[in-house]
């Protein structure tokens, strides 16, 4: 089920990009951001995020596109885990004044966990699986010159991530199998503060 939805999402991304060639009334836009993933206003156990957005802007009011990112999470104050999120983004903005625009948007996609290497040691195996990601956000764009802007934003990121730990007991049932399995499904919820640059 999870993989079917993921395929559907990737198909949507493809359709969005395929729309570029027909975007006669629209313009290409992109944005690059770095930020902090924290549990709140203080940065204990904080991680970081990198993100690039590429999309099409329609009527200078809203944009549709996809994002590719790299997130680093510190979970329960313990190990650091990596997620590679790919998502669709819908964003709209409104002019506050000639040099400043307020923008609101949402990312929805899937975070891949393939960067976390599976551990197999002695009688223990640890594997990782990514999951769906949702990220609503709000921010400001400040005109830097005719074409480019700077941006800051605040958002909420919700990411599913699963850690599976299997253990084999010597002399236990089925020596070739892992006798016990912990499956820890996390729903990571973070405050996201980002700053970036785009055009």
């Amino acid at each position: 089920m999870r993989y079917s939805l993921m395929k559907f999402f990737l198909l949507c991304c493809g359709l969005i990009f395929s729309g570029f060639s027909y975007g006669q009334r629209s313009s290409y836009t992109s944005q690059y951001q770095v930020g902090i993933l924290s549990y709140g206003p203080f940065f204990k156990d904080a991680g970081f995020t990198l993100e690039s957005f590429h999309g099409v802007e329609f009527n200078n009011r809203f944009a549709l596109g996809s994002t590719l990112g790299l997130d680093s999470y510190r979970i329960e104050g313990d190990e650091r885990y990596w997620i590679l999120p790919i998502s669709a983004r819908l964003v709209t903005d409104a002019s506050l004044n000639p040099k400043t625009r307020l923008y609101l948007g949402v990312d929805g996609g899937y975070g891949f966990a393939g960067l976390n290497k599976e551990k197999v040691e002695n009688q223990r195996k640890v594997s990782y699986e990514g999951g769906f990601m949702l990220q609503p956000f709000a921010g400001l764009k400040f005109k830097a010159n005719k074409k480019h802007f700077w941006s800051v934003s605040l958002g909420y990121k919700r990411q599913h991530f699963t850690v599976t730990e299997e253990m084999r007991w010597p002399g236990g049932i089925g020596n070739d199998e892992y006798g016990s399995k912990y499956t820890t499904a996390y729903t990571l919820q973070r405050l996201v503060v980002k700053a970036g640059w785009g055009f």
Binding site: K44, N97, Y156, G171, I173, K181, Y182, T183, A185, L191
Partner: protein
């Protein structure tokens, strides 16, 4: 300045945002496989007919016993296969004696003694194809089932099997790094039973007969039965030996009892009052014992239960039974049972095959390997009068060992493919 004010206006909302904090919701599913005992009322087991049925294929092989021209092969917890072994080249399966919970047996003067969980059963073997139940001594092996013989209300229950079971448990909590309160856990446990069945692990108990007494050992003690009247065994007493007792080997007026930590030597010239002569201690391992006049041969095997990481053959000087001394140690591969015939020692090496050594010179046993049959996976051996009987994973095979250094196959009773 205007953009700056716009920026500040936006961040007026910041305190509101700061009130909202992130957290990790955590759902843990824990699955683990365990063996869950299957209990049966001992009273119900006693009411079952101990019946003789037509021969059936060998499913698993336990202890083997040779009596005159009859070969008895225990099928753990199921009963005993009885075979006519007049011609070891062609043993004929005669019948199967169904005894629930049977793992050991011994035969004395046409009387078969066999355990059935906590009871000792006595059978008349006048017609070996149709053993007749004479006597049941109840609860004499209770200490053997110390963890498996339980009170179920007014009745005693015994563990008759184990089932492979998967236990599921779930818990959930929320992690927030600034929280000082205890984590709240919600758990839910459920159980699902798999289809597979697993038998009880191999018993350490052994039977032997000497001086009109039946001696049996379990993990912790030596049980004595007076079989002066073979048809009516009388329980005499238990002698505590310590933990890890595994095998018992009679030689002349002595009993050599192998345990995971050593070898106990008991004198039984007064059969009802065994007296301990000595205890030879070694590191923890599984250790069957065979002896001759001067030496005891002990194999120490590594394994999950046994706790040793080395596999060796020890030769112990027992000329003075009160002071056994280790003479030599030889590296083996995974030694199980062993048998001694004159100067030839046969060692079952488990999956590593079957070996024979000339032991006339104790100091050079390792240099006197006579034969190593690598394909012959073996766990126990009896050097019988007509044949060498070898038990292995694949069944029970008999060999002509008139040429002790080069045995030749006579017959095999293979296990049925289950």
């Amino acid at each position: 300045m205007k953009p700056f004010f716009q920026f500040c206006r936006f961040f007026v909302l910041l305190p509101v945002v700061l009130l909202v904090h992130g957290c990790d919701q955590k759902e843990v599913l824990y699955e683990y496989k365990v063996k869950v005992p299957v209990l049966e009322k001992m009273a119900s087991i006693r009411q079952m007919d101990v019946s003789v049925v037509s021969p059936k294929p060998l499913a698993t092989s336990g202890k083997i016993y040779l009596y005159k021209d009859y070969l008895f092969i225990n099928e753990p917890n199921e009963g005993i296969h009885i075979l006519d072994n007049k011609n070891p080249s062609n043993p004929i399966s005669m019948s199967f004696l169904e005894i629930p919970g049977n793992v050991d047996l011994a035969v004395n003067s046409g009387i078969l003694y066999a355990d059935s969980y906590v009871d000792l059963l006595t059978f008349d073997l006048n017609n070996p194809t149709q053993p007749n139940l004479l006597e049941r001594l109840e609860d004499v092996f209770e200490s053997q089932y110390v963890y498996q013989y339980l009170s179920g209300g007014n009745e005693k229950m015994v563990v008759v099997d184990y089932k492979d079971t998967v236990i599921n448990s779930t818990s959930s909590n929320v992690y927030f790094p600034f929280s000082t309160s205890d984590k709240i856990y919600y758990s839910n446990v459920s159980e699902s039973i798999g289809n597979q069945n697993y038998g009880v692990g191999g018993s350490m108990a052994r039977f032997t007969l000497a001086n009109e007494h039946l001696y049996t050992v379990n993990n912790t003690s030596l049980h004595l039965f007076d079989v002066g009247n073979p048809r009516k065994p009388i329980f005499v007493k238990d002698i505590p030996l310590g933990w890890g007792i595994e095998t018992i080997f009679p030689y002349k007026d002595n009993l050599f009892i192998g345990s995971t930590t050593g070898m106990h030597i008991y004198n039984i010239s007064q059969p009802g009052e065994p007296s301990r002569l000595s205890v030879y201690t070694h590191f923890t391992a599984c250790d069957p014992v065979v002896v001759n006049d001067d030496y005891a041969f002990v194999t120490l095997r590594s394994g999950n239960i046994c706790g040793l990481t080395n596999d060796v053959l020890e030769v112990i000087d027992i000329k003075d039974l009160t002071e056994p001394k280790l003479l030599k140690t030889f590296t083996m591969q995974n030694p199980h049972g062993l048998g001694l015939s004159g100067d030839v020692l046969y060692i079952c090496e488990g999956d590593y095959g079957f070996k024979s050594f000339n032991v006339s010179d104790i100091s050079t046993i390792d240099k006197n390997l006579l034969e190593h049959l690598k394909d012959m996976k073996s766990t126990d051996v009896i050097p019988g009068p007509k044949s060498l009987i070898v038990v292995g994973k694949d069944g029970v095979c008999q060999y002509d060992y008139s040429n002790k250094g080069k045995i030749s196959l006579l017959s095999c009773i293979s296990k049925a493919v289950m």
